[in-house]
Amino acid sequence: MTATLPADVAATTALLAAGGYVADAALATTVHLALRMGRPLFLEGEPGTGKTEIAKVLAAQLPRGLVRLQCYDGLDLSAAAYEWNHARQLMAIRMAEARGETANLEASIYERRYLEARPLLRALEGEPSVLLIDELDRADEPFEAFLLEVLSDFQITVPELGTIHAATPPVVIITSNRTREVHDAIRRRCLYHWVDYPDAARERAILALRAPQVAETLSAQVVAFVQRLRQGDYYKLPGVAETIDWANALAALDARELEAGAVNATLGVLLKYQDDIAKLRGEEAARLVAEAKEGARA
């Protein structure tokens, strides 16, 4: 592998931290292993826990180009890997006919220059890259089967052209929010890590890095509040991204400390379902604010 990869787990932790990502020991070890073993890294976890962010930070820090494949229902080969440029092919056929050179037609119109690369092929060709396959659970099962070749051998087979290998295998990060189970065959080819919500200390560290203008008192209270909120029974718990947004929102309102009024006014930054907001607004919010202040002081 390339020499720029971090030498040990500590170096990986430092690399991620330099990119603004605070990783715990287990995550740093897993990322390090994925880099050194050249295996795809399969990250699962609730939305907003920073799965996609890892890929972005790795791309920025290694440094490599980030190739992102956002998955969706119905994603197929032509959108994910490659597509023949049919218009140019047809033109080539016409030209060949006009010149009377139809004997070798098959070979001449299936040349690499008629092939348009989509994210997967782009990640294999050219400069070393970080390939982010985002929210794989949104793609349907037939697409996963196609991914297997890419993930285990870092190659793509184009029937008309042959197999295209990666000169330097990309660093592959796959994320899933578990809206459905991803097939075992994919899991087997990857290293696995469950990205959990960070604990209070780590979340404070994240805030210090990502929202440095927020005063320390406020950010400690914000973290204490969110940590308590995550113990509750809500439909969609706030992720780290929501914590950062919320701290920024409160700071923008010139809040120096948590207080019930400002909290009630900004709940929409934190919770994304009306039911959840209705449940928290008022007394419950006031109670959590009091608890959070108490907790942040301790």
Binding site: D8, V9, A25, A26, L27, T29, T30, H32, L33, A34, R36, M37, E44, G45, D73, G74, D76, W84, H86, Q89, L90, I93, R94, A96, E97, T102, A103, L105, E106, I109, Y110, D140, P142, E160, N177, R178, T179, R180, E181, D184, R187, R188, L191, Y192, H193, W194, D196, Y197, D199, R230, D233, Y235, D275
Partner: protein, 406 residues
């Protein structure tokens, strides 16, 4: 969420040099396998590679390396942690077998002995074995029923059936075929009569005719049946129906893909994997191992809330149809039931409530549970005999009258 295990105060294991490590890793992999995780010899090699990279100097790193390579699902996290604590405290002793025996007990799904029950029945005699209480009312029923017998069976309440009639009913259920109810996906397949032109295939064909486009290849959108999710009550008042309805669910699972099944009494169990077993007896045997609350009380609200939280987003995508099978008699007096049912209804395409109590002519929704749920379902139908199951199958093929949300 999983509490961090680091706080368990386990003294660090004395890590031996790498030479002694390989057999220990192999033994640990065996232990995980016995605990129900799917790990093979290849994974052990992978774990060794990971350890040689991550180093052996920290216990957290050691655990993380093993986790990254040997764990594949978040659900297995607890079992993995338990196995890790058990094994790496004293690998030598653990290998000797004490840990192995302990992990057997933690195994999530016990493998059923194939055909064990039928074998026992075969040893006992060649008649089908009836459930014990109905022994005395067992009547002979000819395999080839007359028309009137068949009609009577159609209308007969499941609860009033004798053992032999139940086994007849099960055979009838196997014959029910759910409508496919297919919807277009965003994928295409080649089809000479399809509505869209497949340029790639057309060009490939053209190269064979020297560049002359002789035929235009076409393609059509693939259609697929939306997921079907059954959530079935197995509390005491439903026990008899649940038995038959499980057969129904098993038949449906074998019939089409993307069927998810759940059972609940006081807690919710996902039995999708078990039901996929081709043989119903083995499937039910496996289910009986993972479902702890047969014929107990009911907490419908809590079960539905759990479903919404843990499974709703995972199984209700792509226009799922939900069959909620319960009599609505709730031990908790309907607490939280309205909200949970409402949420469930809004996250699926169609919510059909099947209630055996509807068989009574003058049925009034008096119980609190039923009153709480009723406003939130798309469809409310009986499910107490074969005729009502047939009617359900028919209803699934028509378009719903009220469509909510999506």
């Amino acid at each position: 969420m999983i509490p961090p295990r680091e706080s368990m105060q386990v003294p660090p294991a004395p890590l031996r040099p790498a030479a002694a490590l390989a057999p220990n890793i192999q033994a640990f992999v065996r232990l995980l396998r016995r605990a129900g995780l799917q790990v093979g010899p290849g994974d052990a090699l992978l774990a060794m590679e990971a350890l040689s990279i991550a180093g052996l100097d920290s216990r957290a790193g050691f655990r993380a390396a093993l986790k990254a390579t040997l764990l594949r699902k978040h659900e297995q996290n607890d079992i993995f942690d338990a196995a890790f604590e058990l094994f790496w405290r004293d690998p030598e002793r653990a290998r000797a077998g004490a840990a192995m025996a302990l992990m057997e007990a933690q195994k999530p799904e016990e493998r059923a002995k194939p055909g064990g029950r039928r074998l026992a029945e075969a040893m006992a005699g060649d008649r089908p074995k009836p459930p014990p209480p109905e022994e005395e009312e067992k009547r002979e029923l000819d395999a080839s029923m007359t028309v009137s017998e068949r009609e009577r069976l159609q209308q007969m309440d499941f609860e009033a059936m004798s053992a032999a009639e139940i086994s007849q009913a099960k055979q009838e259920i196997r014959k029910l075929v759910l409508p496919l109810d297919a919807r277009p996906t965003r994928r295409f397949r080649p089809d000479p009569l399809g509505p869209r032109v497949d340029i790639r295939a057309t060009i490939r064909a053209a190269t064979r005719t020297g560049g002359e486009i002789a035929t235009i290849a076409r393609r059509r959108q693939v259609e697929r049946t939306p997921p079907l999710v059954a959530i079935c009550d197995i509390s005491g008042s439903m026990a008899r129906y649940a038995q038959i309805l499980l057969h129904f669910m098993h038949a449906v699972t074998a019939d089409r893909d993307r069927v998810h099944s759940f059972l609940f009494g006081t807690r919710l169990s996902n039995i999708t994997r078990q039901l996929r077993h081709k043989d119903p007896e083995i499937a039910f045997e496996m289910i009986s191992h993972i479902v702890p609350d047969w014929s107990g009380g009911t907490r419908i609200g809590e079960a539905l809330e759990r479903f919404n939280q843990d499974w709703g987003r995972r199984v209700l995508g792509q226009g799922a149809v939900v069959l909620l099978i319960t009599d609505g008699l709730d031990r908790e007096g309907g607490r939280g039931l309205a909200e949970a049912t409402d949420r469930l209804q809004r996250s699926c395409r169609r919510l059909i409530w099947l209630n055996p109590l509807l068989r009574y002519a003058g049925f009034q929704p008096k119980s609190q549970g039923i009153r709480a749920m009723l406003p939130h379902v798309h469809d409310f139908r009986p499910v107490h005999n074969l005729a009502s199951l047939k009617a359900l199958v028919d209803a699934l093929s028509e378009t719903p009258k009220r469509e909510h949300g999506r």
